[in-house]
Amino acid sequence: MLKFIPIKASAGIVGFESPATEYTQLSLDLDQLLIDHPSATYIGIAQGESMKGDGIFSGDLLIVDRAQDIKDQDVVVANLNGVFVCKKIDKKQRCLLSSSKRFPPYFLREGDDFQIEGVVTRSIRLHRPFKKAI
């Protein structure tokens, strides 16, 4: 997972080692802030326009936590007939809601292959594209 380690490679082979080395610490760690259950969390990329009302745009990174309890109206990732979808879950009406008017709710039908995969706990917008090709 995402880790920034701000320590330069220093094998101690040449030169004089900086006396500050001992005091180098990891700077703020985004994992620690954004990820509640590391072994149950994965990151996906959003594709499509149906969740704009919840602030999720195409190309955003979604942090999906499988260990969270699922509450009504949570933004979740689910397996719907072999495809990962991101929707709001309406437990009472057994349907998947989009947050854009152009997309009607999807009512679960008999025979649908459906499992909730996890709760979208955070999403990340890339206001500038990544510098590095990923």
């Binding site: 997972m1 094998a11 149950a40 990151i43 990174l61 999906v64 072999g82 495809v83």
Partner: protein, 421 residues
Amino acid sequence: MFALCDANSMYASCEKVFDPSIRNKPVVVLTNNDGCICAACGIAKRMGVGKKFVPYFQVKKELEAAGVVIRSSNYELYADLSQRMMDTCARFAPDINVYSIDECFLNYGKEATAPQEGWDNLASTIRKTVWREVRLPICVGIGPTPTLAKVANHAAKNVSGFTGVAVLDNEDTRKHVLKQLAVTDVWGIGMRLGAKLNALGIHTAWELANRDPSQIRKAFSIIVENTVRELNGEVRHCWETVRVAKKEIYSTRSFGNRVTDYDELRAALAGHAETVSVKLRKQKSVTGSMTLFATNSPHDNGGYVRRSFFHRFTVPTNDTRNILNVIDSAMSQLFQSGVYYYKCGVGLMDLHEQGLFQYDLFNSSNDNPRLMACMDNINSRYGRSTVQMAAKGFEQRFSMKRAFLSPQYTTQWRDIPKIKC
């Protein structure tokens, strides 16, 4: 009590975690270079396809006709999901011992009393949690000894009446399960030992459990005696020995494209030599001898060529440089021009615990442990082959053929799963 958590068809199950489109399909995973079948999911097994170790080309048409999904081994993905599974299991016990990529022992202590919810419910909770949080199906077996935990796990998978969870905490269940278990399915009893036991009229685990341990020791070894005692509930495996240091270390691999070039074969062997050296140091051993081999394919028209070379070290070593040095003397024996090499490898045998070895009076070790430790540290911190021996070469033309490789969903940014909005 001890629990053994074991993933069902680990590799095939891993393939389904981030690809929901194949969850309800038969999936078969191939070994290195797509050579043989190494795992098949439950659906494939029930269809009777995906027998282990069958060469892929032999059953290619049959698998195609059955609509089986084929995948190359995606070790990056399996290693990450394995780590997640172990982290999740570890929450449920004071002590965990990771036994292999898909199984771990949980230790509750010898005289552990049942948890409030009962052993059965605890086992179910572990199983459900790993499914929910990692999306891997596992079986959980609980028993008073590591061997019985293994037995319970086997029962959880194979004996009717158990669905993914089995607890051997009373005499009736223990007897019921041991009677249905073939002696060859007992932990540590292989096919050869099993055949000898069969000859003595011991066919089931129950029959083995009822033999006199001291006689079994005389006829076989203390290891089999320990198994008998463990089957009867007496803990003999010391927690440390559940994970024994390997007695041999091998690194072998077939080439993606055939190798006909001297330097290329040499570089491939150097890569293997480096791999085994790192493993050797990791388990804190030194090696007394080394074997190297190179072969073409048994299916080649020109006939099978298999060449090997054996080397004994004057002083046992775990220094990559000493292990690499053997390659040059081996090459003249291994390499023959005109042979299309298909596979090569390096094995270390005659391993001793580092420090315990009786050194020779006249030959002193030229190992440089500090240099090796430095190399290992850099590589574990900044990734494999950050520093490496130049002999291995820097461009691996002989890297693996993985034609059906799935994305590395959790370890490469470009491969993270796409989610439709």
